[in-house]
Structures are given as structure tokens and as C-alpha cells.
Symmetry: C2
Subunit: 583 residues, 2 copies
């Protein structure tokens, strides 16, 4: 009884504090060792518990909730391989800077490494991929240990949120019996009832001397560009667009910069670069002398090559998370500062100058490219490029677009153009895996509605289990599966020409009829036959609640040809234009 | 070109050596960074490549192949979260002592921790759960580095096999271009063409002084018992049954000891202990003074409690892997010695004695229990206990029975009795997870035919994706899904009485119709209605190739009641018997 009292008081203190930190969602995978934590959590009126049997999907589901709600999400599982199943989502959370509080139940010390069932070494289970690991004390009821449980909780949640956000892992040893004593006053605490310790996380900012120095350097540059990758900093869209207009710099906007859609000024926003930076004439025409880069490295390989070719340009990398996002080692200045603060502050140090014509060049080539991009709509057959080209038009105002990795994010980058809708674009771009995509999108769909997920067949297959959440929780989601029966991206890589066993090793057709899976999870399924049908389906999509899966079948070989033909044709126009300009 | 020559020579040397170590199977998950390794492996005539898109299932599939073939299996994936998906199977391989050679492709050093795509920290990615981690050198063609690649390969494969077997992780940094040069003489090596270095793994053995000492101690004991858990040592069944008959000790045989089925003597093999050791009269009647224990801790909780209650009995734990398998801290002697060698050698040091009657007691109670166990067949409705009770009869000679964790392995322990068929019993009992079971069984089914997998609905659901291997490779497997719509084991735990939200947190009904999934993977599906139908299906099972899924629906509440009623009724008979004996 004393054991159960200690267990209950300790866990109740932890869970009370969890709620005080602002956490509202917990994803729980059923298990025995985690019983007391799950039972106590289920009693708290301010926690929403999502039960998910498959821990891999569960952790990605939590990742999605955290991404959309911008709050840390706790995940709880039992001891053993259950915890190992969290690993892919934890790695993704680490690199995509998403706050997760990972709570694993464990056998107590005397049952470790002695052949006890379901006992594995959970100390530092996730290695370098969590911001903090703590092996928790055994439950005790005395004030010191209760205070300890509360402060560790507050600290862990705050650390998960602190920039760069990420996962934190707490491992709880629990002894049997695992049943807490349920009491009406479970969460009543006499000491500091409104939370034990509130953590005030700070932002990185640089000082006025540093700003003056940067402004002075920039004033000597005439052909600057701003590059924005995946970024979530509040107020950034307005701040960076104003900075760009003061500097007369174009903004190269990755689809995950959240700059291609929205009510901010799109005047200087360049979005067709993945197409025109494949052209040598355009690249020599547009050489920058300084690059200001925000957020993660953009998706576009053409842009990366362009930057490498211009390695003598100064490159300022601004990162509120103090990371080192510079895969090509091009940075001349690493600026660890909140991005919105940086833009807003820098403006006051900049002396306005007359435009040098560089911005106009970028805008003109961008406009020309977009003009010729319209030929994509000529394709009457279902095609991957046209799908992404039309998407902005077809999505309802306020939609969230979640995009799968591999080809979809690249096609989005190439073909999803500036629009004035408020469309939020999401993807798992920490480690760029194809795993857990369905679950992440479903988690996000709880807070971002309506949500549209566009992904390839292998990515859909990889996390089919994730659909169970849609069934159990009646989550509204619109999934568009681009089924090219295998790994489409490999057709664009050198092995497409060199590998004797290409289909075996890389094409990997699964020949699956996904309709079966969708039916199993009580979803609506439709095989899209043509563009008209797709248009009508998208139009009424807001009226179809629940799980909706629309499958679009394409052909990998034809898709590669179409892309190449498009780039060839546009490239020809761009070269003509540049030659005309130079005369 | 020089880069590609180095890449090719280095990888070809590694792959040649891989084949020389005796590895025949590689499970490859498609990806870009792993391209050169996959392409070279695909060229080797002596390697069988299994392609598996989902890395979690892929690693479990490899685990199954390794378990059944008793050879290390290599797994290969690309960089990023792909590698993190291997974690659950690696943890299971570590604790269940199965040799795996984990090969992960990685970005080269200059692309690590700088925000490059699909680059995560793969150094020591699996922490303490691999026997060895090596960060491989970058590919070079000179003799030193080629020799290095070959010796690391030989060493890694040998270490994976060396007792206790387990996973070894090699991380390969590869630079672009990732295309090797395919040459007809790819694997031709001038230096040591039959393998660079052959590793002769030794066995742990104790010496004659140690044996004499143990034999002397044993000679003073009158009520000894032998306990055999999960064990795979060659020749063990015959050796331990002979030892038991010399010592006049009963053998308590876990279903995974491989002693309940087979042609060896079953005279002293006690298998109904999970039932009769729940009875206090039987337990006080059977108190041992010495315990000789082989293999992993048995499944039975009743047995564990019995051993704890007899903590003053000497306990000898024999482990060829030199582990510390003693969760209740009962061992008086840890003997690190090959189990078969131990049994065979010890016999020559034992002086035969007249039986003391203890063995008879165990045999009589075992016989009595089995006699009363027949009432299980009275249940006309589909029931979980009757399923396992009938299984030995229904399985064909030479079958492999793969059993899911949670309830199925416990029911197997309770109800699967001695038989003279050659039935091999397998399960994932390293960490006892419900994950990866379908894939492990499918991998095993490549080498152990015919294979029957019996598992619960949550376990089946957890690894539904694994069924893709059955579809792509036309693997013959008979799957019996016990669908009690949720987590049946929790009904036996204290929370069944205490948790207000039991169904939400523990019952977790998924309400899934698995028929859809089976159809998606081109399998044959049947919903079993009654015992007659099940009997006929099992009879003709050898004539139904491919993926066969038979679903048996049961009810969790009724199942718990049935079990409790059975134990109560048998317990009454046992008490009567013991009281009669004592008069």
C-alpha cells in the first residue's frame, strides 16, 4: 500500500506539472509497465489521450500534433522494443526541431540485464537524437522527490520547446504492483498549486554593433539575394518581405518557407527558380554577390548547385536555433539570432539605395518561366507535374497541404506557385524519410483543418498502419496517393541508366491495390480517372468528412520523360530571353 | 572515374568476403545512398537479395531468416530514418542472440551535421544493442584498404555468430557519384581468393576440476530439477535427457526449449507445470533442493514464483553465451559453458544413485494434470486454450510453429503438451515485443517449411506491412490470427479490476476486418466458424501454398473466465491428489 501511495503521488505530481507546462496532448501506446502513468494521465481532465497501438506510428502522430499545435506533445509507451519503435520519429523530431516529451516506462534496476522479460537497456536509448535524457528516480512520496518529479517535468517540457526545439527523453522505472490509487483529489497539490516552476525561454538576438557591421557589409553589395527554407518563426513572412523591399533583393522562397502562399507582399518572391536555375544562361545572368539565408537548406538541387557555383559570394546564415545548416560550407557569417527579430532590426540600419537592376532580372526570368510553365496544363493525361501545378488553385482557403518526401516535395518545389490563399505547407524535412508520413499528417490534421496529404505509393505503404488513427478518432483528412507503382525518384538518378537490375533494386513495384487498405480503415476510396473527375472531387472535398483517399495512377517512365521535356522546352525560352536581354 | 574505381573495388572486396563467411541472404531496402552496395550485391551469384521497402519489417524478416537458417543475415539500407527503423529488430536480435550484420550507408563526413538532406548521426546509432560498431573508411582501391574491408567483413560476420550471437553494425560513408563500374571480374581477387581470414569461433567449456566440484555438490542433493528455457544449442535435447535420467531429475521444459516435441526420450519431461505450479499443495509437495537451469528464463510466471519461493535451493545456471540470465537473483553458480558439452561431460562425473521418489512426484502430478486438461476439449465454442491444446495434433510432422507474444506464447506454454512429432517452436523472446512478428515468421518460413504462425490481432496488426514479403516472394505460410479484438493479456492483469478506462487504455479494440488486408496482399483468407471447419482446414493446409490467413474470433471476457475456471477445476483435482499422497 505504501508502494502504491508513493507511485500515485509521484506520478500525479508529474502529470499535474505536465499540464501546467501547457501540454494538452499525449499519445499513449498500450502496455503493462506504463500502466500507472497511463491510468493517471487518463484521469486528468485537461489532457487529451490518443491511444495508438503501433508505437512507430504513435510517435509520428505525436510529431504531427506538435508541428501543427506548436506545443510539445508527450508520448508514453511500455518497456522493451516498444520504445525502440519511437526511434524514427524521434530522429525526425530532432532534425526538424519539433518538441516531443518521450516518456518510457522501464523495469526497475534489479530487473535490468538479467534476462527479465521485456527488459532492454533503455538508458540513452536514443543516443544523440534527444536534447536531454534523464533516468528518473523510483517513485517516492516525500516532498523532495515530489518536487524533483515536478521540476524535471517543467524542465523537460521547456527544454523540448527551447529553440532549437526537439525531443527529450525521460525513462521511468516502475515496480509492481503497477496500479495507482485513484482518488478524487489526485492532482491537488498544496505546494505551488499553479505549477512548480515556470521556465521563461529566451530568444537568441545579436546586438546593435553586430547589426551595424552586417548593414555596412551589405551596403557594398549590389546583387544580393535572400533565400528562405523551411521555417516556422512567428511574424517572419511580413518581416522578411519588408526587408527584401528595403534591400531590393529577391526572395528565393522554398515551398516550406510559408512564403509562396499568404496575404503578405509577393512582389519580390521568386518561386520558379528550381526550373530556371537548371539553365546555364540564367545562372550566369543572375550571379549574386551576397546571399542572406534563413531556415533549413531549400529542397531544390538546382538552387544548391547554383549556390556552390557562386561560392565566392558572401553568405549570411541566420538561425534562431544556433545550428550549423551549411551543407556546402558556403557560409561566411553564421548569425545566431531570431529570424523575425533579425529582419525587423536590420531594416533600421540599412540606408535606402536605388535599385541596381538585379532584382528586376530575377523577377523577369521568374515571370517568363511561369508564363511558359502553363504548358503543363496541356497534358491531358494524369501527370505528377500538372497535379502540383494545379494544387494551389484547387485547395480551399485556409487549407494545410502536407507533402510526402522523395518526388512529391520536389514536384511541389518545381510547380507550386505564388498564390494569395492562406495555405500552410508541411513536410517531414528533418531527415527527409518516407516513413511515418501518414501518421504525421493525421496528427497535424487534429489542429490544422482542412488537411490535404499528397504522397507517393511507397510512402503511403510505409505507414499504412498509421491510418488506424483516422478510423479510431474519425479524423478528417484528404489523402491523394500518387501511385506510380514504385520509387519514382530513382528514374531521375544515374542508376536508371546504369543498374542492370533497376526494377528489382530501385523501381520496386509493389502492385498493391490500396482500396483494400482504405476499406479496412473505413475510409472513402476513389480511383481518379481524369482531371475533370479530380476537379469535381476537390471541389466537394470539404463536404466529405473522415478518411478520404484519392488515388492517381501515373507511369514512372512517362513521368521522367514529361519532366525532362518540360525542362528542355522552358530552358530554350529562358536562353532566348537572356540572350535578348544581353544584346 | 578514379572515385568510381575505388568505390567498386572496395565494395566488391567487402561483398566477396561476405560470401566467403557463409552469408547467403541479404535483405535490402531501396534507397539512394546505399546504391553502390546494393548494385554490387545484386551481381554476386551466391547472394540471395530480398527487397523490402519497410525497413522495420525488413530487419525482422532478416531476423527470421537468421533464426531459421542459423547463419548471419546482412541487412542494407540508406542513410537517415531508414536506419532508425531497424532499431526494434536489432534490439530483439541482441537479446535473443541472433546474428545480424547491419550495413547502413551514410553521407560522408563533410555532409554530416550541416543540414544536408537525409543525413543523421549514425555513429553508434544502436547504442549498446550491437556487439560492435565500426565507422568504415571511405572507399579506396589500394591494397591496405582492400585488405581492411575484407578483414572487417570477416570479423564482423564472425563476431555476429560468436556466442552469444547478436547484431553488428557497420556504417559506410559513400560519396557521389554512387554508381560502381560493373565488370565481369568484379569479385575476382588475386590475393587469397578463398577468403581473407577465416575465424574459428570457440565454445566456452569448463574443466575437469570444475566438473568434479559440481558433481560432488549434486551428489548431496535428493530433490533436484532441471529447467530448460529457450535454447538452440546443437545436440542439447539428447544430452539433457540422458543427464536427467542419470540424475533422476525431472526436466521442466519450456515450449521454446524444443524438448516438448521430437524423437528424444520424453520420459522425464514435465510440461504441464504452468498449470499445477499455480496450486499451493503441489508447490509444497515438490520443493526442490537444487535447480539446474539452461537457456533463457522460461515463459511461465507460475514457475518463476515457484523458484522465488524456493530461493534457498542451490541454482546452477549454465549459459554458453556467458550472460547473466537470473532475473530473480537466485543463482548460486553461474556456469559459462556450452550446454550440450556440459550435459555430456557431467554424466561421467556422476555416480548413479537410487531414485529418491522426487522424480516420481513430478511425473505423477504432471500426468494427473494432463489427464484433467482433457476437459479443454469440451469447449464447443472457439476458445484460445483449446486451440493451443489441439495444436500439436493438428500440425503436420516437421512443422515449425511460430508463436506471437503476449497471450499466445503463454497459452502455448500452458496447453501445448509433449508429442513425438518433430515440431520446432519459435518466438521473438529476446525482448518479447509484439512488433515484427509477421516479418520474422515470414523470414523463418524461407528456411523452415511448413511454417504455422499463431498470433493475436494486435500483433498481426502491428506488422501488417510485413505481409508484403509474402506477396512479393510467394512465401508459403499459414497464419492463424486469434482475434479477440484487443489486448487479451490485460484482462489477466490487475488493471482489469481497477482501471476505470480499461477499454480505452488496455482493451484497445481496433474493430478491424483483416480480410481486406489479406486480399491486398493476395492471400487466402478464411474466417473460422467452428472446430470442425478448423480441423478440415488444418488437414489440407499442406495443399494450400502461398499466404493463408485463418481468423479465429474469440471474446476477451469469456477467455479470461474460461482460463480461470479451468485452473480452478484442475487445482481442485491436484489438491485432492496431493492430500491422498501425503496420507
Amino acid at each position: 500500500m505504501e508502494h502504491q501511495e508513493s507511485l500515485t503521488a509521484y506520478i500525479a505530481a508529474f502529470v499535474s506539472e505536465l499540464v501546467q507546462t501547457g501540454i494538452t496532448d499525449v499519445v499513449v501506446s498500450p502496455g503493462s509497465r506504463s500502466t500507472p502513468m497511463a491510468m493517471v494521465m487518463a484521469e486528468h481532465p485537461d489532457l487529451t489521450l490518443h491511444i495508438h497501438v503501433d508505437e512507430r506510428s504513435a510517435a509520428f502522430f505525436a510529431l504531427g500534433i506538435a508541428k501543427a499545435s506548436k506545443r510539445p506533445v508527450a508520448i508514453l509507451c511500455t518497456s522493451g522494443t516498444a520504445a525502440a519503435n519511437y526511434y524514427p520519429a524521434i530522429v525526425e523530431a530532432h532534425y526538424s526541431r519539433v518538441p516531443l516529451l518521450v516518456l518510457t516506462a522501464d523495469r526497475p534496476h534489479e530487473l535490468r540485464e538479467v534476462g527479465a522479460p521485456q527488459a532492454i537497456d533503455q538508458i540513452h536509448l536514443y543516443g544523440n537524437h534527444v536534447k536531454w535524457f534523464a533516468e528518473m528516480a523510483l517513485p517516492e512520496k516525500n516532498n523532495d522527490i515530489i518536487r524533483y518529479a515536478r521540476t524535471v517535468c517543467a524542465r523537460a517540457a521547456a527544454l523540448a520547446s527551447q529553440s532549437p526545439s526537439g525531443p527529450v527523453h525521460l525513462n521511468f522505472p516502475f515496480r509492481e504492483p503497477l496500479i495507482p490509487i485513484m482518488d478524487e483529489n489526485l492532482f491537488q497539490t498544496e505546494e505551488r498549486p499553479n505549477g512548480y516552476v515556470k521556465v521563461h525561454n529566451g530568444d537568441l538576438t545579436i546586438n546593435s554593433y553586430q547589426f551595424r557591421d552586417i548593414a555596412a557589409k551589405l551596403s557594398r553589395k549590389e546583387k544580393g539575394i535572400i533565400i528562405c527554407g523551411n521555417l516556422e518563426t512567428e511574424g517572419f513572412a511580413d518581416a522578411v518581405t519588408i526587408l527584401a523591399s528595403v534591400l531590393n533583393f529577391p526572395i528565393i522562397a522554398d515551398p516550406l518557407s510559408q512564403l509562396r502562399s499568404g496575404k503578405h507582399s509577393s512582389e519580390n518572391i521568386i518561386e520558379a527558380y528550381d526550373t530556371f536555375l537548371r539553365n546555364e544562361d540564367a545562372k550566369s545572368f543572375l550571379k549574386p554577390d551576397v546571399v542572406i539565408r534563413f531556415g533549413a537548406m531549400p529542397v531544390s538541387k538546382a538552387l544548391t548547385i547554383f549556390l556552390k557555383e557562386n561560392h565566392s559570394a558572401e553568405q549570411y546564415v541566420i538561425d534562431s536555433g544556433g545550428g550549423w545548416r551549411d551543407p556546402a560550407a558556403l557560409s561566411t557569417d553564421m548569425i545566431f539570432c531570431n529570424e523575425t527579430f533579425f529582419c525587423k532590426s536590420l531594416i533600421s540600419y540599412i540606408k535606402p539605395k536605388a535599385p541596381t537592376g538585379s532584382l528586376e532580372k530575377w523577377r523577369n526570368i521568374n515571370t517568363l518561366t511561369k508564363e511558359h510553365m502553363k504548358i503543363i496544363n496541356d497534358s491531358t493525361e494524369l501527370s505528377e507535374s500538372r497535379l502540383f501545378y494545379q494544387l494551389a488553385d484547387m485547395l480551399p482557403e485556409g487549407a494545410t497541404l502536407f507533402v510526402g518526401n522523395s518526388m512529391p516535395i520536389r514536384d511541389l518545389d518545381s510547380f507550386f506557385l505564388n498564390n494569395e490563399k492562406s495555405i500552410k505547407v508541411m513536410a517531414n524535412r528533418g531527415a527527409n524519410g518516407i516513413d511515418g508520413t501518414v501518421s504525421t499528417a493525421l496528427g497535424a490534421a487534429l489542429y490544422s483543418k482542412p488537411l490535404y496529404l499528397v504522397l507517393g505509393d511507397l510512402t503511403f505503404f510505409h505507414d499504412l498502419n498509421g491510418l488506424i488513427a483516422a478510423k479510431l478518432y474519425n479524423i478528417d483528412i484528404h489523402i491523394i496517393v500518387i501511385n506510380n507503382n514504385g520509387g519514382g525518384i530513382f528514374s531521375f538518378l544515374p542508376q536508371a541508366e546504369h543498374a542492370k537490375k533497376f526494377e528489382l533494386l530501385f523501381g520496386t513495384p509493389l502492385n498493391i491495390e490500396f482500396e483494400h487498405a482504405v476499406r479496412m480503415f473505413n475510409g472513402n476510396y476513389m480511383n481518379i480517372k481524369d482531371w475533370d473527375q479530380f476537379g469535381s472531387v476537390m471541389k466537394v472535398s470539404l463536404e466529405t468528412p473522415g478518411l478520404n483517399v484519392r488515388e492517381i495512377s501515373t507511369n514512372r517512365d512517362r513521368n521522367t520523360l514529361e519532366h525532362r521535356e518540360f525542362w528542355r522546352s522552358v530552358s530554350w525560352e529562358i536562353s532566348n530571353f537572356v540572350k535578348g536581354e544581353r544584346k
